[in-house]
């Protein structure tokens, strides 16, 4: 080989090496997408956020640590159900962690302290649970997407169901806070019969003996109640103990009968009808795979919160894939989110003009699980492609 030949070969090798190092450099440049998740992991409501996070992480695990082909750096923080600490966490995530998008808040009062501000400042936020009416109507925002529901929806579905079942005198109970009032407003939007009484109790109340005694004296033919988490457990147990379970049927949203709640209540909850946008026995392949994977990974049943986390992660994945992992293309990312081009375990899912889901709502019934414990069984559909009541107020 001549000297010239040698030089050329060396140059060639160098070029190949440089080429490959450029390639590795490019691979490094595709940094992981940073997702900031603020959620409720402590307090009695800690299992809500915990389930949501498990659903979200399952979606990432199914794609080998990626969503939409990009590596994911998920930063999770507990808000302890305190709006002010959620606000501080949000500031820290944006200013020092430089997250690309945010998600995870469970409670509407916490969401209202964080979401309006961060989306105004240009951060994209995808809700996995809270859907306060304010953010669905006049204050809707192109940076805000709700992958769960608008707060009133699940209660509206129960209003319709109780109406269809021909009940004429209904007794209503809810905690005395904004989501409690939204719940009863949602129910009344579709239920047209008499309302015997409308009772608001203290948030976090543990003993309902007095309310149940008044309820019995009022002789309604059905009871609708919105008590999520521990309040629901207390109420349903005490209602059954008072001997009313077989006389006056209970109706509620899925929050009053999630999988963990009915397990904790046990026999007393059997027969209770509740409305949801999903049920674990839904007949679609995505849902079946989700339930099987979830049980295999965590050894526990998924709840509606797990579903919302899982769907939100897959929604985010679809949009990341659409921009090829380049989070600087914000407009394209938003447009891709809006298309909702992913397979929801809930079946029908698309976004309305206000970036809130248009989806179906179902009735479920609490039954004893043949595998032990208690669970919900799908009974039927109440609404198809249901649009929330505030969409028309949103100018987007």
């Amino acid at each position: 080989m001549s000297l010239k030949g040698k030089k050329a070969a060396l140059l060639g090798a160098a070029a190949v090496m440089m080429g490959s190092s450029i390639a590795t450099f490019a691979a490094q440049a595709a940094e992981p997408v940073k997702i900031g998740m603020i959620t409720t992991l402590s307090t009695g409501a800690g299992y809500l956020g915990d389930d949501m996070r498990k659903g979200f992480e399952l979606a990432i695990a199914e794609q080998d640590g990626k969503l939409g082909g990009s590596d994911i750096n998920l930063i999770v923080e507990d808000d302890g159900l305190k709006p002010e600490s959620a606000r501080q966490i949000a500031t820290r995530m944006i200013e020092s962690e430089h997250v690309d998008l945010m998600t995870g808040i469970i409670f509407s009062n916490v969401a209202m302290a964080v979401v309006p501000k961060v989306v105004r400042d240009g951060m994209i936020y995808i809700s996995t649970n809270a859907g306060p009416s304010l953010l669905a109507g006049a204050k809707c925002d192109p940076n805000y997407f709700n992958a769960a529901y608008q707060n009133d929806n699940i209660h509206e579905a129960m209003g319709q169901y109780v109406q269809d079942q021909g009940f004429k005198k209904v007794y209503l109970l809810a905690p005395n806070y904004p989501a409690g009032k939204d719940a009863l407003a949602g129910f009344k939007r579709y239920y047209k019969g008499d309302i015997v009484d409308e009772v608001y109790t203290k948030l976090g109340q543990t003993d309902y003996a007095a309310e149940i005694a008044s309820l019995r004296a009022a002789k309604p033919d059905a009871v609708f109640f919105f008590y999520p988490g521990g309040m629901g457990i207390n109420f349903i147990k005490q209602y059954a103990q008072a001997g009313l379970k077989d006389d006056i049927p209970l109706f509620g949203p899925a929050f009053s009968a999630d999988e963990h709640l009915v397990d904790a209540v046990g026999e007393a909850a059997v027969g209770m009808k509740n409305t949801s946008h999903w049920s674990h026995d839904m007949n679609n392949d995505a849902s079946k795979k989700f339930v099987a994977d979830y049980v295999a990974k965590y050894g526990a049943k998924p709840s509606l919160y797990s579903v919302q986390g899982y769907d939100a992660a897959n929604l985010i994945g679809s949009a990341i894939a659409a921009v090829g992992g380049d989070m600087s293309k914000k407009d394209d990312f938003r447009a891709a989110l809006k298309k909702a081009d992913f397979t929801s375990v809930r079946g029908n899912f698309k976004f309305g003009n206000n970036n809130h889901p248009i989806q179906d709502f179902y009735v479920r019934e609490v039954v004893a699980d043949p595998d032990g414990g208690f669970t919900n069984k799908l009974v039927g559909k109440v609404f198809s492609n249901h649009v929330d009541a505030y969409a028309s107020e949103c100018k987007m």
């Binding site: 003993d207 007095a210 005694a213």
Partner: protein, 304 residues
């Protein structure tokens, strides 16, 4: 009228649950001069251990004993390891330390039992209703709670008023230094007393578990009311705890039921329900303020 009777009974039952918590706390607070915010955690420990034992087939009474024993042992361990160091500190340090314990216990139960609430059913022989007010079947379990509360309070009263230990306790409540000088083993008395208060909290926890959610943080709601009870009743006084607990139980229950009705006489229903509910939840604090305005040391004072 029958409904009113039933509501009185509900108020009594709520008062009795509070009393089990308050009598332990008032002894600890009054005699050891220790503010123990973690008393609610002992309530939670009792409920969790009781529910777990029963879920594993121990039966109700064995579960009850397990819950009480677990709470008592946890309480005594707490006293030996932590509280001892706090007696001479001021109240702010005690509040901080025991608040830390609340966080510790809440996290601990979520590590052991998970974040999902734990199930506990009413024992079969108490799951029915008793119709001694015609037309208003009353849950048998709630009656059992009332009876238990009355019996335990009776025993406690006997213990404090008629026995030697009770005499030491009362003497300790009046003058801690003097009883030490008289040769009573104060540190042993404190450990036993703390364990006893914890056992009562554990009993309240197991008794509350069949009709409430057994979950992390369940002790905090009842703790706040318990403090209101002992402040109204007079710190360190068993009689005060009885009076305070019944007063709070009845005021809270009757307030919740009748205030929204009263408000509807003046206000449109939609406004009345919301404000009535808010006012009802403030009622016990208003009561506390009124009592303290006229009797700053509570209804029954112990300290000279």
């Amino acid at each position: 009228m029958l409904l009113f009777l039933e509501q009185l009974l509900n108020g009594l039952q709520f008062g009795v649950t509070l009393l089990l918590m308050a009598s332990g706390l008032t002894l600890i607070f009054g005699i050891m001069n220790l503010i123990n915010l973690a008393h609610g955690s002992l309530f939670m420990v009792g409920a969790y251990v009781g529910a777990t034992a029963i879920a594993h087939g121990s039966g109700f009474f064995l579960g009850l004993l397990a819950g009480i024993a677990a709470a008592a042992l946890t309480g005594m361990a707490m006293e030996l390891l932590i509280m001892r160091r706090l007696y001479r500190r001021d109240h702010l340090d005690q509040v901080l330390a025991t608040f830390g314990l609340i966080l510790f216990f809440n996290e601990m139960v979520s590590i052991i039992w998970g974040r999902q609430p734990v199930a506990m059913n009413t024992p079969d022989f108490l799951s029915g209703t008793v119709e001694f007010i015609p037309g208003a079947p009353y849950p048998a379990f709630r009656l059992a709670v009332i009876v238990t509360g009355i019996v335990v309070t009776g025993l406690l009263y006997f213990l404090v008023m008629k026995t030697r230990i009770g005499m030491w306790i009362r003497a300790g409540a009046s003058n801690r230094e003097m009883i030490g000088a008289l040769g009573v083993n104060i540190s042993l008395l404190y450990t036993v007393l703390f364990g006893f208060g914890a056992a009562l909290a554990g009993l309240a926890g197991v008794m509350a578990a069949p009709f409430s959610a057994v979950q992390s943080g369940m002790g905090e709601n009842i703790l706040i009311l318990t403090f209101v009870v002992i402040v109204i009743g007079g710190i360190g006084s068993i009689r005060g705890a009885v009076a305070g607990a019944l007063l709070i139980g009845l005021t809270d229950t009757l307030g919740r039921v009748y205030i929204p009705d009263l408000m509807r006489l003046w206000l449109p229903p939609s406004v009345a329900d919301g404000t009535g509910a808010s006012l009802a939840s403030m009622l016990i604090y208003i009561l506390m303020a009124v009592v303290l305005a006229f009797r700053p040391r509570g209804l029954f004072q112990t300290h000279g």
